[in-house]
Symmetry: C2
Subunit: 338 residues, 2 copies
């Protein structure tokens, strides 16, 4: 049976959404779940959801990593042999083959650093990357890196391209994924020094590389994967979220302050706009994979609810069943032979 570790102490409102999402996933997807965290807090929740017949077990981890864990302090907690936090305990289960993937809604930095120390990197990968699904006009574009690596070199970006391509194909079911390189201007000669040096590497890799892309191409759905450094990717992510939020707020304001007929109109269009909200809702996609570490790892939003946790577990399940990890290992190995 597929077994997925869920960090019960991850979300902002832990452990409720984390445990409830795990219960929903165990019921709906028939996967085995291992919850790591404070057993005293987890057990009553499981009982209240009558989960005793479900394949859910609890591994007690009395400590947890929070947004306050960073720098050297985080490194110590992440690497300590006998670390007792819910992330370290969870990753160790994956490392020891007792589970197939790790899912957390916790601090992204803590999840990344702990993954690096507990699971290590895939051979040939210099820098693991966080890959985030962006909504487009006709589906999803996976953008990586989204913040794990603020400073990258061309080889890092090449590896992001290879891992992103395998991820889109295996976990998202895209055939021959189209890979774009985030730049300013579409021509090969345009962009930063990093982009100009990366372009030929992606072109000569065994990828369906379509060239440079800008916001227009990404959000119009012209590529399935967009490769960039973690600084640019994170700025794109945060700006896109902020613009979408600003726009929807301005629309709400305009409708509210527009008189009775406008208000009526607003009420009439509201159901149709629910679809848009869903499109922009991170809980739909659930979690972002950390690609390049030697074990399947998925990191979701701290503000996730039970539905988002359930969806994150579904994403992990798809990755397990499509052998994502070994496919990435093979693709990286293949690229090193060149």
């Amino acid at each position: 049976m597929t077994r997925i570790v869920v960090d019960a102490m991850g979300s902002d409102h832990y452990p409720t959404p984390d445990v409830e999402g795990a219960v929903l996933a165990a019921r709906e997807y028939g996967v085995g779940i291992v919850l790591t965290g404070d057993a005293e807090k987890i057990q009553p929740l499981l009982e209240s959801h009558r989960a005793s017949s479900l394949p859910i077990s609890v591994v007690h981890a009395p400590e947890m990593l929070t947004m306050n864990d960073k720098g050297d302090d985080l490194v110590i907690k992440a690497r300590h042999k006998d670390a007792k936090n819910s992330m370290a305990v969870g990753y160790d289960l994956v490392k020891n083959g007792e589970a197939d993937a790790f899912v957390t809604m916790g601090n992204t930095g803590a999840a990344m650093v702990t993954a690096l120390f507990r699971l290590g990197r895939i051979k040939g990968v210099d820098r693991p990357a966080v890959a985030v699904p962006f909504p487009t006009a006709n589906g999803i574009c996976t953008i990586l890196d989204i913040g794990a690596n603020p400073d990258c070199d061309p080889k890092n970006l090449l590896q992001f391209g290879i891992m992103g391509s395998v991820f889109a194909e295996r976990a998202r079911g895209v055939k021959n994924p189209r890979i774009g390189l985030v730049s300013i201007g579409e021509e090969a000669g345009k962009g930063s020094e990093l982009v100009k040096a990366t372009y030929p590497l992606l072109q000569n890799a065994n990828l369906n590389f379509v060239g440079n892309v800008e916001g227009k191409e990404i959000f119009n759905g012209h590529v399935d994967v967009a490769v960039t450094d973690g600084f640019t990717g994170n700025v794109m992510l945060k700006s896109s979220e902020a613009v979408a939020k600003l726009l929807t707020e301005k629309i709400r304001e305009a409708v509210k302050s527009g008189g009775p007929l406008t208000l009526l109109g607003g009420a009439l269009v509201k159901p149709a706009l629910g679809k848009i909200k869903k499109l922009l809702d991170p809980s739909e996609e659930g979690a972002a994979p950390l690609l390049g570490v030697n074990g399947l790892t998925f990191i979701g939003h701290g503000r996730s609810d039970a539905l988002a946790v359930k969806n994150a577990i579904r994403v992990a399940k798809n990755a397990i069943e499509s052998n994502l990890l070994s496919a990435i290992k093979s693709a990286i190995e293949e690229s090193l032979k060149k």
Copy 2:
């Protein structure tokens, strides 16, 4: 009398919007206009708008720079002593003191390169930057650089901060403008190597530096100026535009496909949404200044209509009247004394 050069051959539909915008501006703002471009095409337009009593003159420039002008070819056309294109002729008028500012809706790259060769840089400025106004929840945030310099060093970003601050104060009327540094994470230690090295420079400059900012802070209006390298800035600009477009299209689709009541609702909210469209409309702001060259230069969208051209001329007029250029020179000079 304030005199502004308008490149009559700039916009996608040149010379009509360019000349019509100039006529509108001369009427409304009482500024003198010098149109550079093909006199045979410009004169009939002026006559059809009964502009003979307005302070508009034409300086014939038989050639023009287009999107096809780039690389070495562009450099030759930009720097040639006897260049006869409408940009070079226009910049020379500013350089020779026959006009106070130059406004074009033409190719941004051509406008920048030609400005560099005809006007030169302000003493102490290593790299001129394009500063673009972004709409926020409560006004405008000027972001620079937006594409002139894909690769920057910390000193470049410091100069962008100084120039952006003076621009916000003088041309936008913001008192003690709040300056942010685009990064990933708000704390001082977060971001790329470039950002980490730039942070103390901005902190020690004579600026109202508020620290690192992300999309949330920018679009919520927490800063008046956001400083970044041209690669990141351009990616932000293009992504923001693309997200806004995607969202409005999805809303339109949802309303259209939602049945008669939803359609009715859509019709009722439409007038209120017009305000939002205006918020996102580049023609409202007219043009982006190229800061750091030794002369006032404003570059607008190729797709500008007459209204956008008129607004661009208004922006130039404000900059002239507030002594933007000499204020930037003083601020840069001051910063060099430190």
